[in-house]
């Protein structure tokens, strides 16, 4: 009660976290590596692309020191494909998150395997000396899914926040007019919001009382968390007494098997008389 904030992250907090996402920039000026708490940024040498956290990239963009290369999934063709998939191909489920990076070894072609962070970027490499550690395989929320090479046709976890930030501050770097990308993005938001509402019907019947939220982005979660949690909690409360009865019956059946019969209750009543 003391803290008026709802459980979970608010939209502003989610947007703040999204600024940790790595994006690809094309620097216009030379810049030495900066020693940050999270590690060193790569050296910026003008014609070469580099990967920086979103907040730093936006800062450089505002100072006209760099251009941001938008991730491949933000291309209008990619967005249109996602919308098509969400509306036509699979109108029930959300489009899947980007696959983990995988690549076949040179010596064993055709056997694609999940890749270690060595694939990732200079920033995280300098940040951890243990980049060769096979245990540190990154999974979707921590993948560099907003860099230029990230796969097209998949929405990463922070898709809405990153797209909004890039469209607002780096609209001139978009592969298409920013208005076109923005309207596609609006469509996508609406489609997925409608899907989020209709997904609740999965809770109607007994038995399959769960919601699938695979592929839902961080901002959408922040928006719907309170509603969905309240809904599931209500269903739980309504079913609580039936659930308790069912458990008792199961318990009874198990005990009945052990002692052979239900003579206990009758004898109790006799004692009372």
């Amino acid at each position: 009660m003391a803290l008026p904030l709802p459980p979970g992250l608010t939209q502003n907090e989610v947007a703040f976290l999204a600024e940790m996402e790595m994006v690809t920039v094309v620097p216009r000026q030379r810049l030495d590596s900066i020693d940050l708490l999270g590690g060193k940024t790569p050296q910026l040498r003008p014609p070469h692309r580099a990967q920086l956290p979103l907040w730093l990239a936006l800062l450089l963009k505002k100072q006209r020191r760099a251009n941001i290369v938008p991730p491949a999934w933000m291309h209008p063709a990619s967005l249109a494909e996602i919308i098509h998939r969400e509306t036509k191909e699979d109108p029930e489920a959300f489009s899947p998150p980007p696959p983990p990076p995988s690549r076949a070894l040179y010596s064993q072609p055709g056997t694609a395997r999940r890749l270690n962070p060595s694939y990732v970027d200079d920033f995280t490499q300098t940040q951890q000396n243990s980049q060769q550690d096979p245990n540190s395989i990154l999974s979707p929320p921590f993948l560099p899914s907003n860099v230029a090479e990230s796969p097209a046709g998949y929405l990463p976890y922070h898709w809405l926040e990153v797209a909004e930030a890039l469209l607002t501050h780096a609209g001139d770097d978009m592969p298409a007019p920013a208005g076109e990308v923005r309207s596609l993005l609006r469509d996508l938001v609406e489609v997925r919001a409608a899907k989020m509402r209709s997904s609740t019907s999965a809770l109607e019947g007994f038995g399959d009382a769960y919601l699938t939220l695979r592929g839902v982005g961080a901002m959408e979660l922040a928006e719907n968390r309170a509603f969905l949690a309240g809904l599931v909690d209500g269903v739980r409360k309504i079913g609580a007494s039936a659930e308790a009865t069912r458990r008792e019956e199961e318990e009874e059946a198990r005990r009945g098997g052990d002692y052979g019969g239900d003579g206990d209750e009758d004898s109790d009543e006799d004692m009372g008389l």
């Binding site: 939209q11 919001a193 989020m196 109607e204 719907n224 809904l231 269903v235 409360k237 609580a240």
Partner: protein
């Protein structure tokens, strides 16, 4: 259910129809007969907190002549009219068209409490379906009311209040029929949408 939960307290004050199993002297004023004895078999509406206690407790007397009369509970209770057969049938037919608030302001809380006291497997299934299908409707309205729809960004906020994108009059009736649980859900959904919209508009300022 918290001790300080005002909704739980109000739910406990809801009245349910009870039938007295014993004569109670001087309680006749409950049945509009002040000064008389309340006869066994008379039906009185009692609040849940009282009915629950009376139904669980028993007289504790032992009647040697007629064993069936001993240790019976003070009252028996039925389902309140809010959970009566006609309401359940209407909910089965179309959950969205029943104004639950007219039945009881704490409809679901009352229902779950009653289901704890007596077993109603069918009621539980009907309520669950009702709750979920109405929740989808609530989410829809929460997004539209007050111009919180994704398309009306920035300028048109005042106009959107009036238009509500086609849910207009029927929507207001529906929202008026929400019980307390559903109002909470509505508030959650609405706050979420509103916060997202505010964030969308603030991105440009930074």
């Amino acid at each position: 259910m918290s001790y300080y939960d005002i909704d739980a307290i109000l739910t406990d004050a809801e009245k349910i129809p009870c039938t007295f199993q014993i004569d109670v002297p001087d309680l006749g004023y409950l049945d509009n007969q002040p000064g008389h004895t309340l006869k066994s078999g008379s039906r009185v509406a009692l609040p849940i907190w009282l009915a629950e206690m009376l139904a669980i407790a028993n007289t504790g007397t032992i009647d040697m002549d007629d064993p069936s009369q001993s240790s019976k509970s003070f009252i028996t209770f039925d389902l309140p009219p809010a959970l009566g057969n006609d309401v359940v049938q209407a909910l089965k037919a179309d959950p969205r068209s029943v104004p639950l608030r007219d039945q009881s302001a704490h409809f679901y809380a009352l229902a779950t409490h009653m289901m704890e006291l007596s077993e109603e497997p069918e009621l539980s299934a009907v309520l669950r379906k009702t709750f979920v299908s109405r929740a989808a409707e609530i989410a829809l309205h929460a997004r539209k009311v007050g111009g919180a729809g994704g398309k009306g960004k920035g300028k048109a906020t005042k106009d959107d209040n009036a238009s509500n994108l086609g849910v207009g009059g029927a929507g207001e009736d529906f929202l008026r029929g929400l019980d307390e649980w559903e109002r909470k859900l509505f508030r959650c959904a609405h706050d979420g949408t509103k916060a997202s919209k505010e964030w969308m508009e603030n991105v440009k300022k930074r």
